[in-house]
């Protein structure tokens, strides 16, 4: 499993004990882990010495977790996994919309958190090399370069968004169910469909002219999503 170089994880968590225990446990799992007690500190640490993945709590003093995610996203495509005690739909969707890649609820077993981190890591490293450039109308997806271009202009997407788009681009016109996408993109055996919905929404913000009436990434009622050929 751990056949990649050591990856660094930044744990932004205000509770000292949780932060310390997560760092210890993540180091056991083979990560190089660092901690930050506030969003501000975390942002500074990440700016000076970027981590390969960020684990963030939502309830933080000062800047909250949502704002922390937004600020991280402004300058970075780093994979972000939220680890929060809050489990209502509203918080989950808000965190994902802010730019998080995945969301787990405390208490999470370290094996599971590690699996989530590995899954987001896989997305950043592995593209689908055998997939050639796909052009759908004026949308261009270049898997080998990790680029998405709309009318020739580069569209900034996160790794998760890119992997999601690649799944669609692999077979344009094919309808993917949410569960299929969860398995292919997030490595979930069975997962939370809100992950897919929010990420599709985020992609639409970037590649649709009018995200409220999408022309490229379409919803197929009762079935899932597809990329319009």
């Amino acid at each position: 499993m751990d056949d990649w170089p050591v990856t660094s994880v930044l744990v932004i968590e205000d509770d000292d004990r949780i932060r310390l225990s997560l760092i210890l446990a993540l180091e056991d799992e083979g990560y190089s882990a660092r901690g930050a007690a506030t969003a501000e500190e975390g942002l500074t640490v990440h700016r000076t010495n970027p981590a390969d993945a960020v684990v963030v709590d939502l309830m933080l003093p000062g800047l909250d977790g949502f704002e922390c995610i937004r600020q991280l996203r402004r300058s970075s495509e780093v994979p972000i996994v939220v680890v929060s005690a809050r489990d209502d739909t509203h918080d989950i969707v808000a965190a994902l919309e802010a730019g998080a890649d995945d969301y787990v609820v405390k208490p999470i077993a370290i094996k599971e958190l590690s699996a989530r981190l590995r899954a987001v890591q896989r997305r950043t490293r592995s593209t689908t090399p055998e997939l050639a450039t796909v052009t759908v109308g004026d949308l261009e997806i270049k898997p080998e370069a990790g680029e998405v271009r709309l009318r020739g202009e580069l569209v900034p997407v996160t790794h998760t968004e890119f992997r999601l788009l690649c799944e669609f681009a692999d077979q344009p016109g094919r309808v993917f169910s949410r569960q299929q996408l969860l398995q292919r993109v997030w490595d979930y055996e069975f997962g939370d469909e809100r992950l897919v919905d929010v990420h599709v929404g985020r992609l639409r913000q970037k590649i649709e002219d009018d995200p409220s009436s999408p022309q490229r990434l379409l919803t197929v009622r009762g079935m899932g999503y597809k990329l319009q050929r």
């Binding site: 225990s21 489990d87 609820v105 077993a109 069975f190 009762g222």
Partner: protein
């Protein structure tokens, strides 16, 4: 017998009142009018009779004319007949038509005693007034005035009054119905608000300005809802606080315990055993807290999406190391259901875990359809569930007897309670029965949600 509704009763009272009132009025009017008309008719008839007697019959008889001739001179028309009694017998203009029989003997005797009289009688041709006027000893002039026309008039009047009374009664009933509807309208808005609150809309309030008479009801209703909303909010916040306060230290415990457990082999035997115990127990406690918090979260309505339950069942079986061939879809049964995917997954996973823990593993997961309901059955070949445990097994912290006997500490005791809660959230029910051939069968029935099949948004 069920008591009739308020509205029916008020309507009946209104109708009854209107009926009594109009009936009394009608009777009174009828009585007064009929008396007046009769008196009028009597006066007229009296005048006519006397003038006939005085100016025609008496002079003619004195002139020794025959009574028949005398009577022929009278222009009696249709409404009156004249008779003369003389020499102990009746004289009429026409052959006797039974008219003479209508003249009461008492009246005739009175007239023969030189006393004129009037009497109302009923003749063959209807009611009549009989006037008897003595003209000379032994001679009496009698006129019979028909009251048929008057009676007909009165009949018409009675009919009109009856119809009016009936109409007024209906009007009264209508008024009662309308009035109660108006009066009950504020109550209907109370009912609507209460229904809204029951459905979870805690913002529903009554407008205190709408119905001044119902001020007290409105105020206390709104107070009640305020209190309810406050209490629910307090409970919700408490649950959220408990959730947070439990989850946070558990996260530390869980992570720290895993660090310990990883090194258990390198520790001395006692410490290592203790470390493993801590890690195992923390893991179980973690599951317990998660399940408890899930169980406490009763207020959320299911978030329905289409889920391929057969595929889900196969995935869950594979994840647990069972053969996914045990998932069977009955012919004709839909395998895509409208359910809350997260809760349904947990429900099915708990049933499979239960079968594994107490029944030696599931041997069949059947997806079927019965009487408009989705049916999901999980069978095992274990010892089954005793009939007396089949209800209580779905209560929190009730563990199957064999498990308890073994001192098995695996489950949280909340798995089946969560199953029951999730199934109930879908409006369905779960039952434990015997599997034919031995073992337990857990059957989940969820009413089918009919969704119009939408056209593909795009194609």
């Amino acid at each position: 017998m069920r008591r009739p509704g308020l509205r029916t009763r008020v309507t009946a009272v209104f109708a009854g009142g209107a009926l009594v009132l109009t009936a009394a009025m009608a009777l009174l009017s009828y009585e007064i009018t009929s008396r007046t008309l009769l008196a009028e008719r009597e006066r007229t008839a009296n005048r006519t009779t006397y003038s006939d007697a005085k100016f025609i019959v008496a002079p003619a008889l004195q002139a020794n004319q025959e009574p028949g001739e005398v009577l022929a001179q009278l222009k009696t028309g249709d409404t009156r007949r004249a008779l003369i009694w003389r020499n102990g017998r009746w004289h009429a203009r026409e052959p006797d038509t039974g008219l003479t029989a209508a003249v009461p003997d008492s009246l005739l005797r009175m007239a023969l005693d030189n006393k004129p009289g009037i009497q109302r009688v009923r003749t063959e041709i209807g009611p009549a007034l009989v006037f008897a006027i003595p003209l000379s000893p032994g001679v009496v002039f009698v006129e019979v005035h028909s009251l048929q026309e008057l009676e007909r008039t009165l009949g018409v009047m009675a009919l009109v009054l009856g119809v009016v009374a009936g109409g007024t009664t209906c009007l009264g009933a209508g008024l009662g119905w309308y009035a109660t509807r108006r009066a009950l309208r504020p109550l209907a808005s109370v009912a609507d608000a209460a229904q809204g609150i029951a459905a979870g809309d805690l913002a529903a309030r009554l407008d205190p300005a709408a119905e001044p008479e119902l001020q007290r009801l409105t105020d206390s209703f709104n107070d009640m809802v305020d209190q309810l909303a406050r209490r629910i909010e307090r409970d919700r916040r408490f649950a959220a606080d408990v959730s947070h306060e439990l989850r946070s230290p558990l996260q530390t415990l869980s992570a720290a315990a895993s660090v310990l457990a990883r090194r258990a082999d390198r520790l001395d035997q006692r410490t290592g055993t203790a470390a493993r115990l801590v890690a195992e127990e923390v893991a179980r406690f973690q599951q317990l807290v998660t399940d408890l918090l899930e169980l406490a979260r009763t207020d959320q309505p299911p978030d329905l999406t289409e889920v391929d339950v057969a595929e889900l069942a196969r995935q869950l079986c594979r994840a647990r190391g069972f053969d996914d061939e045990i998932v069977k879809v009955s012919p004709g049964a839909p395998q895509v259901w409208q359910v809350d995917s997260r809760r349904f997954e947990q429900m099915l996973a708990n049933l499979l875990d239960n079968a594994e823990r107490h029944g030696g593993g599931p041997i069949c997961v059947r997806i079927a359809r019965r009487n408009g309901s989705h049916v999901l059955e999980v069978d095992d070949e274990g010892p089954g569930v005793l009939p007396e445990d089949r209800q209580t097994i779905f209560n929190p912290f009730v563990r199957g007897r064999p498990a308890r006997a073994r001192g098995d500490s695996d489950g949280t005791g909340l798995g089946l309670a969560l199953v029951a809660q999730h199934v109930a959230a879908h409006g369905g029910r779960v039952t434990a029965t015997d599997r034919p051939g031995g073992g337990a069968r857990f059957r989940v029935e969820i009413p089918e949600v009919r969704v119009e099949v939408p056209e593909e948004v795009a194609s």
